[in-house]
Symmetry: C2
């Protein structure tokens, strides 16, 4: 197969995805649902971070779409906590896409004044390339992954609207170079807030929840105006 | 674009990749080079594990191909230690493929009686789907990523010829459920050895290096016979 043919196919897939994502985004905004695309490497603590943020919400009702290649471990945890959650299993695909989210939303039907967390596949590469209907991208990085991540996975850091640096409770046992991390992150993304948190202790998540609700209100009120 | 057309394109890409990977594998075997495809999530400690294994090698000369989306941080480290290393930057692609390795090998030209480590892109999904010419796949997982990884990223664990469980030095500060991890891993892969290691302290890497040299000799001697 020629390189040109491959590129043509990839572009067509991307274009179709963007069209559906835009439709979903407009539908969510109109329905009073603020949508957060949660991205991060395997084991970054995406689910436990979402749970901690949800605990800090004051005005919005949470809904979750869980993306995994296989298994429904996290969905069972979330539903067990009374958080309405729908599972997507991609069966191999390395990221969620807009058609998958459109279908999952039919099942989930989030109500007005809510925030929808979409937990993407654990992957620092592919999810950053595909919009799925979100208002913001929340990137979860960790001190255990090392301080060079913004240099090695630039697109995810560049596109993030906020970055959580998780597992702060382990920092005393690591050689994490925070200055080097921030330098790399800021070179790509000068404005997005950075939150130091620990999903184990809950440290730092009130600030994330407050920031997120403020952001949600500005997007959803913009719609009403 | 139709689903059928998409699948056709993907299959053609896979077939071409497999053909080139087989050629590379035969050339390496004939040339006395044992090739290890090193896979793992972002920040699993792929480079530091490779360095620790290299320290434990007794008879084989190491060569490295470093795969990254961007940056050459690890290649500079390795070359600075006197380990001949060539960098591949995929510029966005989420895994290495056989054509990229074929081209990098022309530059690296590993000698007889050597082991070639190919550090794949930090990603627990896509690299497991593409052979690149390797004799074995070495998967690096970590206790900090959590014990549910075999359940969530089954293909990488299923295809691994050996699994390293890294960052063992952090285990005392975590709720890592080793039994649950091993149960999930063994359901997918009953035979591959599992090594507990710490790339920080060096713990456990002599065993990995010894196992790897034994494996290399059996593959390369099979060629001579």
């Amino acid at each position: 197969m020629s390189e040109t043919k491959k590129i043509e196919v990839m572009e067509a897939i991307h274009d179709e995805n963007e069209r559906i994502a835009l439709e979903t985004n407009q539908k969510l905004t109109g329905g009073g649902v603020f949508c957060v695309n949660v991205m991060g490497a395997p084991g970054a603590g995406k689910t436990s971070s979402v749970i901690n943020i949800i605990k800090g919400l004051k005005a919005l009702t949470p809904f979750v779409i869980e993306g995994d290649i296989e298994s429904d471990l996290d969905t069972r945890t979330l539903n067990g906590m009374g958080i309405r959650t729908v599972q997507i299993n991609t069966g191999g695909a390395c990221h969620l896409d807009a058609p998958l989210i459109r279908d999952a939303l039919d099942k989930l039907a989030p109500q007005k004044k809510s925030v929808l967390f979409i937990e993407n596949i654990g992957n620092l590469v592919c999810p950053a390339e595909f919009v799925i209907g979100e208002h913001i991208k929340l990137l979860i990085s960790t001190v255990t992954e090392g301080s060079d991540k913004p240099y090695k996975y630039p697109l995810a850091f560049e596109k993030a609207d906020a970055v959580i640096l998780n597992k702060a409770d382990l920092a005393p046992y690591l050689d994490f170079d925070k200055e080097f991390f921030i330098k790399g992150f800021r070179a790509l993304n000068p404005l997005a807030p950075l939150f130091m948190v620990s999903a184990k202790t809950g440290e730092g998540f009130w600030e994330v929840a407050a920031w997120l609700e403020e952001k949600a209100f500005s997007v959803l009120q913009g719609e009403k105006a």
